[in-house]
């Protein structure tokens, strides 16, 4: 029972972290039809900026906000200078974002070095509860809380607000929305940069969990996010939420019982789901 409880918390926390990453990807893909291969890079930029700020200021909140703001700007620049030139041309989008990923991952190595850098958890989240035989790390509970908050926030933003309405309309008929006097390009930049900021949030929260950040962490997490987006149904926000929880829980269970299989488990799961549901669990496939 203790093990079950611990795995549940660990799995949900892991899922929340994957969700932060996958939700940004899924929003950009679902709303703009763009697959963003820079996501893993934006993730590590978030992590590194968080660590750099935290080591100077010792303020958790300030560091997270700094990471998100900086990467928001970076995302806006990516969209304005590169991605906006290749809307509608999917192979070019994939290639150009891959190129940016290579450049900016190497820039991280240039600035912060190729070896991982470490960071401590902030004091107020560093503790743990011991209930029976189970150890619950405060930070993991915090992650679950943040993930839930972000999920609800984005859902409300897209479905209930005027901004969400414009974005949804712009996806279907950008020219029409533009004709109504709304600067749709600005909204798309905003969506892309918003997705980037979510990746940065993921990176900033990931760093204190593992205690370190390395330039290879981006690709690893990007792969997890991709698997989530594929099994959840390409571009379905709800799908990526459930996919993340599913993947997180499965990861925790497999790592506990059969650690040697943890590498292949994710892909096996993806293959199985695609075999039975080619469009993913929430089948809102982007047909392109």
């Amino acid at each position: 029972m203790d093990v079950f409880f611990m795995l549940l918390i660990n799995g949900l926390a892991e899922g929340a972290l994957i969700f932060l990453m996958a939700s940004g990807l899924s929003i950009i893909l679902g709303l703009m039809g763009v697959v963003n291969f820079t996501h893993g890079t934006l993730f590590i930029w978030g992590g590194y900026i968080y660590i750099a700020t935290y080591n100077r200021t010792q303020s958790f909140l300030l560091s997270v906000l700094a990471a998100m703001a900086a990467v928001f700007l970076l995302g806006a620049v990516f969209e304005k200078l590169f991605v906006s030139r290749v809307y509608g041309n999917i192979p070019a989008q994939i290639l150009i974002t891959l190129g940016l990923q290579v450049i900016f991952t190497d820039l991280v190595r240039l600035i912060w070095g190729a070896t991982p850098i470490t960071v401590a958890r902030p004091d107020f989240l560093a503790g743990r509860w011991v209930i029976g035989g189970a150890t619950i790390v405060h930070y993991r509970v915090f992650l679950i809380f943040v993930g839930l908050l972000v999920a609800i926030g984005i859902h409300l933003l897209i479905t209930k607000t005027r901004i969400g309405m414009v974005i949804r309309a712009g996806v279907q008929r950008p020219d029409m929305v533009q004709a109504l006097g709304i600067n749709i390009k600005l909204y798309f930049t905003f969506v892309f940069a918003g997705g980037a900021a979510l990746a940065a949030l993921g990176g900033a929260l990931y760093a204190p969990l593992t205690g370190s950040m390395s330039s290879t962490a981006g690709l690893h997490n990007q792969v997890l996010a991709f698997i989530v987006v594929v099994i959840g149904g390409m571009g379905s926000f709800l799908g990526s939420a459930f996919g993340s929880i599913f993947l997180g829980l499965m990861g925790a269970v497999v790592a506990w019982f059969v650690p040697s299989l943890s590498v292949v488990a994710n892909v096996t799961l993806m293959a199985l789901i695609l075999a039975f549901k080619p469009n993913g669990l929430f089948g809102l496939a982007v047909k392109k």
Partner: protein, 334 residues
């Protein structure tokens, strides 16, 4: 257009080809050994690039896990040469096992990706698959040597650099002929049809999934064989050969050379190997060139933005423009 590329056997092209071939045959007798090694590398990477071009250029499929074939070829060579023996007989065995392994891997990859459907899903899924294989190679230390890599000795017949140059040249020529024949075959034509309009190919009664699978098999096996040669060339295999970076190399080779041209791979791999070599030579003076990937990425973005059809595409465009002009002036003269 396609016909022109392949059967463009007008005398000029043929002559050019023969001259190039002759040049490649005599070059090693005049060049420095470093240059001979560089060109051997280009030959092998050309095959790797061509294998990628079948997917990207002829099927319109972006495979981000392609390195798993290439790297596996190198690893199969390394593992068998260390665990068994380094004779020519084992080399034959390596080739056979690579073909079987790559065929099986392509089958599994195809089963998953073709279910997934779109180009986006394909790219995402193959990236995940490639990373998984790299991860497995990194953890299976007892066989692959983990992150340290796997140095191994090779059959004596391949040890001489000058001889190996010719083996690499023959390898490239044979693979080019085979792949060219494959693309000209009815199966290859169907692949083109799928790239241009999958729906229509389906309506014509072709089982498009089956053809995609065949294309992936051919591409995977060629990449695997290129990997074997690359492993023998370096006498070393490491997880970098399985990484996304290695896949991106193939992508950049086809991009720079020109996608959907097959021969573009030769131009592309030559250009990239040359640039890389030059930049790495510069690093003793300017430390910034240590970060070759920065330039690699920048090249990538620039090519996608400004030269989407690559060198061969650019060349064809120039030629056709020149022809138009000729025609135009001929009409004027009348």
């Amino acid at each position: 257009m396609i016909k022109q590329q392949f059967k463009g056997s007008n005398k000029m092209n043929l002559l050019l080809l023969v001259a190039l071939l002759l040049a490649m045959m005599v070059i090693p007798h005049f060049a420095k050994s470093a240059t001979v090694a560089l060109i051997s590398r280009i030959f092998i990477l050309t095959v790797y690039g061509m294998s990628y071009d079948i997917l990207r250029g002829y099927m319109g499929f972006i495979n981000l896990g392609h390195a798993l074939f290439f790297g596996s070829g190198a690893y199969i060579a390394g593992i068998l040469f260390t665990k068994l023996d380094n004779t020519f007989g084992i080399f034959i065995l390596v080739v056979l096992i690579t073909i079987i392994y790559c065929s099986a891997a392509a089958f599994i990859m195809g089963k998953i990706v073709i279910r997934g459907g779109s180009v986006i899903a394909g790219a995402m899924i193959t990236l995940a698959l490639g990373e998984i294989v790299r991860n497995m190679a990194e953890r299976w230390r007892s066989v692959t040597g983990g992150a340290d890599g796997l140095p191994f000795s090779i059959p004596p017949i391949f040890r001489d650099r000058l001889h190996f140059y010719y083996y690499a040249l023959i390898f490239m020529l044979v693979m080019t002929l085979i792949l060219r024949q494959f693309l000209l075959s009815p199966t290859g034509r169907v692949l083109l049809a799928i790239r241009e309009n999958e729906q229509r190919a389906k309506f014509l009664g072709f089982n498009t999934d089956k053809y995609k699978m065949i294309g992936l098999q051919v591409s995977g096996i060629s990449a695997g064989l290129a990997g074997v040669m690359f492993g023998v060339f370096n006498r070393f295999a490491n997880t970098d050969l399985l990484s996304v970076q290695q896949t991106l190399n193939a992508l950049l080779i086809t991009l720079v050379g020109g996608t959907g041209t097959l021969y573009g791979a030769f131009v592309g791999s030559g250009f990239i190997a040359f640039v890389q070599n030059t930049l790495l030579n510069l690093r003793s003076q300017y430390p910034i060139f240590e970060r070759w990937l920065l330039f690699f990425g920048a090249m990538y973005v620039l090519v996608v933005l400004f030269m989407p059809s690559g060198f061969v595409g650019l060349w064809q465009k120039l030629i056709s423009e020149a022809r138009e002009k000729k025609k135009g002036s001929a009409v004027d003269a009348k």
